[in-house]
Symmetry: C2
């Protein structure tokens, strides 16, 4: 029978672990605190922020919101980042995307202290990912995929894995994480001549494209594990990259959208606030 | 007819370009200088150092050798690195591998100023590779592979490329470079169930394993491009990962060993000393 790989139990287990780490830190007088920086009032940004705050509170992490009006200058925002870098009471900084105006994700990546970079966007942390450094801070979404596979005891070592999508935020770092775990990894994307040639030979297919219902039953082999990192809308309803019903009928396990990978990311962020606080303690 | 992809003309073209950049830098009173740090007298290390010095001189780059006895303490070597980091007359630092004693490649990567890291081993530079930052400094061997493909007008965008080997020095960074250029990339290795399944469907096969004559004609499809990054010995003669004669008969183009990728790396190092000096000028 096909298994539905739901994200909630994964997030719950991660949070329980993080709660313990936070308790240990408090015993040595370290009170993990996350600053959340948001510019403007983008609706999905605010709703993700609220979800993140709830998760942090459950884990015992204090949150300091740093909110700017949409018209704030880039200099002012970068100065605020600089103060947060220097503030030893702040252990992690999360900068909500998208940023309005001229400030890019890369500008933030250049200014944020890599020790507080709990969504793993700085070059330093991406490089430590390539080096397979276990205490570095990683991008939350690909790390959520790995946590999901681990939770459901899906072995990746030696498995044929196909990652669809090669964005710097998900596809590329996920490819590196899977290589670090000794999977054979094919990374395919919009320029690939024949995506199915790759996906059909894969034990695990992970799709992170945002192309609604791209992955049909035809894409996968019988019994494959299918992880859906996409998010979009069809007829007003949220859907992912995977045509769920027909893929479910052929696969051995599939993540739902919503309720799959997306419901794990804030727990990963909390885990990484704890990791960041821990790393800062030992410095 | 199968083409032999020799490294020498690639190195020559790269050096001519670098010479021009160095001349431009000298016009603005910047005299690019490379410090080469070597510990002990490992024979292959010394011979590579000599080749590097010759290439630098041809490009107009000054070289300062910093030689330590094998029994030198790690602290002393790291202190020397620190001085080189601070010395504004030094634009690049190359630390010869292997390092004897307890000092690892990662220790060096943690101490070297990423702006002077002309062999792209620091986390900062590896992360900027993931970000696809054009002015970052990259690991020389995978960059040499890309330079070779470019020189011989072998398009990678949209091509099916298989990289064999996933070391942090060659296989993994090469996979990222190819993804940055929009190739479809499969990275396979010792844990892969069926390497041939991947190599046989590839337009370009790049082998970086060090397993002598691993890649036989049976591994590749008719007309494939085969790049050999391996180096080893068989019956006292230097050979690569590729069983040359039989692969040559089936491929459209193959790199020889010796005389292929290996003969490009010092030209890449020179190019990156120029890039490093240029980046330091504009800072």
């Amino acid at each position: 029978m096909t298994k539905e790989l739901r994200g909630k139990p994964v997030a719950k287990a991660l949070l329980q672990q993080t709660e313990k780490t936070i308790e240990d830190l408090k015993k040595i007088d370290c009170y993990p605190t996350l600053a959340i920086v948001r510019v403007g009032d983008d609706e999905s940004s605010v709703s993700y922020e609220n979800a993140a705050i709830k998760t942090m509170q459950r884990a015992g992490i204090a949150v300091e919101p740093v909110i700017f009006k949409e018209e704030t200058s880039s200099e002012e925002i970068l100065q605020a980042l600089d103060s947060l870098n220097k503030n030893t009471d702040i252990h992690g900084v999360l900068v909500m995307q998208p940023l309005p105006g001229t400030l890019s994700r890369n500008d933030v990546a250049r200014c944020l202290d890599s020790n507080k970079d709990i969504d793993g966007l700085t070059p330093e942390n991406l490089g430590r990912l390539v080096e397979n450094d276990p205490i570095a801070l990683f991008p939350s979404t690909p790390k959520a995929v790995m946590a999901l596979l681990d939770f459901y005891d899906i072995e990746v070592e030696g498995k044929d894995v196909c990652v669809i999508g090669s964005s710097p935020v998900v596809g590329k770092p996920l490819t590196i994480m899977l290589l670090n775990r000794e999977a054979s990894v094919a990374n395919v994307h919009i320029k690939t001549k024949d995506v199915k040639q790759y996906t059909r030979q894969a034990d695990i297919v992970i799709s992170a494209t945002g192309a609604v219902e791209l992955v049909t039953a035809d894409y996968i082999k019988e019994g494959a594990v299918v992880v859906d990192v996409g998010f979009g809308y069809k007829d007003g309803k949220p859907v992912g990259d995977v045509k769920y019903d027909e893929v479910f009928a052929k696969a051995s396990a599939v993540t739902p959208v919503p309720g799959g990978v997306g419901s794990i990311t804030t727990a990963i962020l909390a885990e990484q606030v704890a990791q960041a606080a821990w790393n800062q303690r030992s410095n």
